[in-house]
């Protein structure tokens, strides 16, 4: 019996030790996530709530007025033809960008996945625009796309009269899309390349032995196996396409007419050119809802087309 208290003490100590260890673990855990959580709170949640609050106000910076206006800004959005035009422009831009970017990135990745001399050089070549300053990249393209610029100069040298790229609606939109595709296609290419290289060689070989041709192997083996990457690239490209601003500002300023005034550029005009911060905040909320909805739709439908989710 005398040994009982002695035996009990270590048990008590163990429980206390476990308790304090668990507390310590929790503290360390909180400490570890603190930077991320604080960052998210400060730079995502606070601005989000603040913008939603502003969107319920009539706020003119110059006049110094900040008046609660309820849902007025949202009602105004419904009747605003400029907003409608900017949504259409955004739709064209996003569709063009996603289709061109994903297709070209996949094509380049497949071509550069071959074990041929020079592929590393080409990979570097296509990736290098990703690390170039966006504004510098766009300014250079602005010079090339001028009526008397490099592209039309080249076309003239082969006997073709090029259009005035940035001065007609369809070609201006095409130009902005192409500039953006060339800027970022390298990043998507690298993502696809990594996915392609993770496709097991034996599966390909089995299909080859079964008599599957190159196209059949790509469609039935490669594409299903890299579909998680296709999902990732699609989401990134769609979300990125809705955030385009610098290229529009530098290349076209939203013109000709309003043909390249995409949603973010329209938002910028309302806030920083027309000083209508309340209305611009309401447009920001709309943009947030659109991005969230598109991401959710892609995420929800992934089970239908993503075969091998990692």
């Amino acid at each position: 019996m005398t040994s009982t208290p002695v035996a009990a003490r270590p048990r008590v100590r163990t429980a206390r030790t476990r308790g304090s260890a668990a507390q310590r673990d929790r503290a360390v855990g909180y400490l570890m996530v603190a930077p991320q959580v604080l960052g998210t709170v400060a730079f995502v949640i606070v601005p989000l709530v603040t913008v939603a609050w502003y969107s319920l106000h009539e706020w003119n910076v110059l006049a110094g007025t900040f008046v609660f206006s309820g849902a007025d800004n949202y009602e105004r959005m419904l009747a605003d033809p400029g907003l409608r035009d900017s949504l259409v422009a955004s739709l064209w831009f996003s569709v063009g960008l996603v289709v061109l970017n994903v297709t070209l990135a996949l094509l380049l990745a497949v071509l550069l996945d071959q074990k041929l001399p020079g592929t590393t050089t080409f990979r570097t070549f296509f990736f290098s625009p990703v690390v170039v300053s966006l504004v510098a990249w766009t300014i250079v393209w602005g010079f090339l796309l001028q009526d008397d610029g490099g592209i039309n100069g080249f076309l003239a040298s082969v006997g073709v009269e090029g259009p005035n790229w940035l001065r007609s609606g369809p070609t201006a939109m095409l130009a902005v899309i192409v500039v953006q595709v060339f800027k970022n296609v390298g990043l998507n290419m690298i993502l696809f390349l990594a996915a392609l290289q993770s496709v097991p060689e034996e599966v390909q070989e089995a299909a080859r032995i079964d008599g599957a041709g190159a196209w059949r192997r790509f469609r039935s083996i490669t594409l299903p196996l890299i579909s998680p990457t296709v999902l990732l690239v699609s989401i990134l490209t769609v979300v990125g396409s809705l955030e385009v601003f610098a290229q529009i500002d530098v290349l076209t300023g939203g013109g000709p007419g309003n043909s390249t005034t995409v949603l973010v550029y329209y938002l910028y005009q309302q806030a920083f050119r027309f000083n209508e911060f309340g209305y611009a905040s309401a447009i920001s909320v709309l943009l947030f809802v659109i991005v969230l909805a598109l991401t959710l739709i892609q995420w929800r439908t992934r089970k239908r087309w993503v075969h091998d989710e990692v």
């Binding site: 603040t50 706020w59 900040f66 009526d147 005035n164 940035l166 001065r167 000709p256 007419g257 050119r273």
Partner: protein, 435 residues
């Protein structure tokens, strides 16, 4: 996690409330008063759009003299240069952030917007009440844009006339008459300038007449031409679109045809810098003369006459004191120093002042060695007399973008000028009606 989310929301709402309160303010105009000596001297900030080192050095020397004279009021004055292209946007963004400068340069097109908003204080009483300021020397016509209800909400420190610069090498090579001679003989018209430009462009393979900085975006710069037709984009009260008035249709048809029929003006998407020798003629402000060197022979002449005669046009810039600033009274007192007769004479080296006594070829000539006294008399002194400014409106930013978009269809060879201008009016009518 729930706790953190709730705290995040609480922090967000708190921040929004604080920012919202910061955003609140009075829109009633205030008048700057006699500065009371603050507890300790305060720093002042003035935003400017020039990055010219010589100009900034001159401002700083004038400011340093003020600090030396009034050490109890001001500890230092800082001049913050913001690039011209984003100037007004950057300024309003600062205001939105509750970080207004004490003083700021303001571009004339935005003058009504700033003056009517209540963002600026009335500096008139301080300027008038400052010993030795000689307020009556200020040209009444130069103050008009900055006045409201008897108050003066900015001082028009720069009154730079638009003029036409000539690359005489290119004009002579094309066998064309010299614009200076045409001025002398009273035949200096836009049609004459168009003929010279078209011939020079054909001869040199370069460009003819460039309206500087227009670039098919800054359409208000075309007012230097259409003022010769007595045309304007909207009525004097800013409520009615006048793009469809016959005078404007004629003026815009002239510009369209000079571009697409004669090749006298560069088309959209073509860049041409007169000062780099890319064009024979350019319309720009006289202050650009400092960009000239000896790489080609040049001259500067007044703007040509249109069918309604010659109209002088100036580009104005004002200096205003923000009500939102921490020490508007001190800032207004500094403004009175910065623009007093002695300092205005120094500033005249770069910015033609609104003072009648300083607008002489002798005073301006001392500061502008590149220009002869005859040129200064004809272009600057006479150019400021009865001059109009470029279009301005309380909703100018909105109108600028809307008209720019509306005019884009005009810039094709087969455009229907009248129909495009009618569409422009349709698109800006709601903006004009709402102002």
């Amino acid at each position: 996690m729930h706790t953190i989310r709730h705290r995040g929301l609480a922090a967000g709402i708190a921040t929004a409330a604080v920012l919202g309160l910061a955003a609140c303010g009075s829109s009633d105009p205030q008048a700057a008063g006699e500065p009371e000596a603050p507890g300790e001297p305060v720093p002042l900030t003035m935003t400017v759009w020039t990055a010219d080192e010589a100009q900034l050095a001159l401002f700083q020397s004038i400011a340093d003299a003020y600090v030396a004279e009034h050490p109890e009021l001001v500890s230092e004055v800082t001049f913050e240069a913001i690039p011209f292209d984003d100037y007004t946007t950057s300024l309003t963004t600062r205001l939105a952030g509750g970080n207004a400068p004490d003083l700021a340069w303001i571009l004339e097109s935005y003058a009504p917007e700033f003056v009517q908003s209540g963002a600026l204080v009335d500096v008139g009483p301080v300027l008038e009440g400052t010993d030795g300021y000689a307020y009556d020397d200020l040209l009444e016509s130069s103050l008009a844009l900055w006045q409201q209800d008897g108050g003066l909400f900015a001082y028009p420190f720069s009154n730079s006339p638009f003029a036409l610069f000539v690359n005489t090498d290119q004009v002579e090579a094309a066998g064309q008459p010299s614009p200076a001679e045409l001025v002398g003989s009273g035949e200096w018209t836009y049609d004459a300038a168009r003929d010279i430009a078209a011939a020079a462009a054909e001869e040199s393979g370069k460009q003819g007449l460039v309206v500087r900085d227009f670039d098919y975006k800054v359409w208000e710069n075309l007012s230097t031409i259409w003022d010769g037709w007595d045309a304007a984009p909207w009525s004097a009260d800013g409520a009615t679109c006048t793009f469809t008035d016959p005078a404007m249709v004629d003026a815009m048809t002239w510009i369209h045809d000079a571009t697409f029929d004669d090749g006298a003006m560069p088309g959209p998407g073509t860049t041409a810098d007169f000062f780099a020798g890319d064009a024979a003629l350019t319309i720009t402000q006289i202050s650009r003369a400092s960009s000239l060197d000896d790489s080609f022979a040049w001259d500067v002449v007044p703007l040509p006459a249109g069918p309604e005669g010659r109209q002088n046009v100036i580009g104005q810039a004002g200096i205003g004191v923000f009500a939102q600033g921490e020490h508007p009274d001190v800032a207004a007192d500094f403004l009175a120093w910065f623009t007093n007769p002695e300092n205005a004479e120094q500033l005249a080296a770069y910015f033609p002042p609104p003072r009648e006594s300083l607008l002489t070829a002798e005073v301006l000539g001392a500061a502008n060695p590149l220009l002869s006294e005859d040129q200064l008399q004809a272009v600057v002194v006479d150019g400021i007399t009865d001059a109009v400014t470029k279009p301005a409106h309380p909703s100018f930013a909105k109108l600028q973008d809307t008209v720019r978009a509306g005019l884009d269809p005009l810039w094709t060879a087969d455009a229907d000028v009248e129909a495009v201008l009618a569409d422009v009016c349709t698109s800006i009518d709601p903006v004009l009606a709402g102002s």
